[in-house]
Symmetry: C2
């Protein structure tokens, strides 16, 4: 129910795992698994049941191996999550449409990330400061920066623009994914939830006291019944963000 998650692995061990620096065993029984296989199983589990269901025991079960065997390949769960992260970073496209301008490129970056988070919602719960310096993460960072390369921005500004996009997408995808998962997480559909909350709220909530919230809340509630609407809200915000960046780039090159 509660918690941190990390990418808090020992950076030395994580990097060794990520870049394949482990020196290949010579003696002893043949390994039945690989870090790769374990990461794949863990990702499947997390995709299907969420990060809270990701336990070493469950991963081991999936691989038909005893729990403690995993620790031969991976120093702890934290490093396993690092490996999972870098692996899914490898899924995003790494080419832009021919002849696209910076705006189209940035929009692609945003949408690729939107898609990635939707495929792997558990990423939202993993704390990511001190990025996992794996090959895929670096490639992704480089690719995203290329969206705004050569537009007259300073290095730091390029980083800030990409951060802005990432931050927005992260926030937007978070609410969208939570909306999608709300039913399965709570066992209550939106309708059922409102059936319970609505009448109770009516008893205690005075619309006259908060008229704007009442009005807008009703409008938003109605609109979001329509399927796919989080996506429209995402697109709306993205347009604003891109407009803001456009104004900045124009000012910068003037």
């Amino acid at each position: 129910m509660t918690a941190d998650s990390s990418s808090a692995g020992d950076p030395r061990r994580s990097l060794e795992l990520l870049w394949g620096l482990v020196p290949a065993r010579r003696r002893g029984p043949r390994p039945r698994l690989s870090v790769e296989e374990i990461a794949v199983a863990a990702i499947e589990l997390a995709d299907a049941e969420g990060l809270s269901a990701l336990s070493m025991r469950r991963v081991a079960d999936r691989l038909k191996v005893a729990t403690m065997s995993l620790y031969t390949y991976v120093p702890s769960k934290a490093e396993l999550i690092d490996v999972m992260l870098d692996r899914v970073y490898g899924e995003t496209p790494k080419t832009y449409a021919e002849g696209a301008g910076w705006r189209a490129r940035l929009e692609q970056v945003a949408r690729d990330n939107w898609d990635l988070y939707h495929r792997h919602p558990w990423m939202l719960q993993v704390v990511m400061h001190r990025p996992v310096l794996g090959p895929n993460m670096i490639a992704k960072f480089d690719f995203e920066l290329r969206a705004v390369e050569g537009e007259g921005l300073a290095d730091l500004e390029m980083d800030q623009v990409i951060s802005l996009i990432s931050n927005y997408v992260h926030g937007a995808v978070r609410s969208a994914v939570e909306a999608m998962q709300a039913e399965s997480r709570t066992g209550l559909s939106d309708a059922q939830w409102w059936e319970i909350s609505g009448p109770l709220l009516e008893k205690v909530f005075d619309p006259a006291q908060f008229p704007i919230a009442a009005r807008v809340g009703a409008a938003a509630g109605e609109a979001y019944e329509a399927v796919g609407d989080p996506e429209r809200a995402f697109a709306f915000g993205l347009e604003r963000v891109l407009d803001g960046i456009e104004a900045f780039i124009e000012k910068r090159s003037a």
Copy 2:
């Protein structure tokens, strides 16, 4: 280490707690605690040690009470988190500076939320779809909407603008807070972390392959050594977002 968190309480029970609908006991021993006291203790604990340290046992210890006593006041941990959330929502200011325009008001909303998240970083880990419909949350929503009331936007657009701001702030504060907490979480300062990662990365990472990431990464790394820089990055993004909203409002009223 891993997990979901929720605001996944039974909505009926949460609402009763939030609005004080519990019908006041008559018989039996005098209660030694109150939901309020429990929430305060839980918030203190979560502020100090993070959401992963928030356990019923630890909260009970803090109140010098047996663990199971808490369940007299609160049906489960999920509802407790709902109460904690609504309580901290009450902390944000609820008045705008006299005569401020929508842009100044929106900026205040963003900064108030930035501050709130910094005071209570555990909020970042709580899943918030299906908002906790408590009095403070509703008041906050109403207040934030007032920032863009009367600017010619449709109800739905007002909601989208506030969502955009919230999403951006959420994302930005997340990276800033994680940066601040990285040292205490991992026991490694940024310098120590880099001392370990740097040399290892140099062995495997080819700057020629990802020249932009190398260049910008170096520039950003240097800049972020300066304390308080996440705040500047936040301000940068916020300006862009507000510019984007400005363009929208102008187009809308034209």
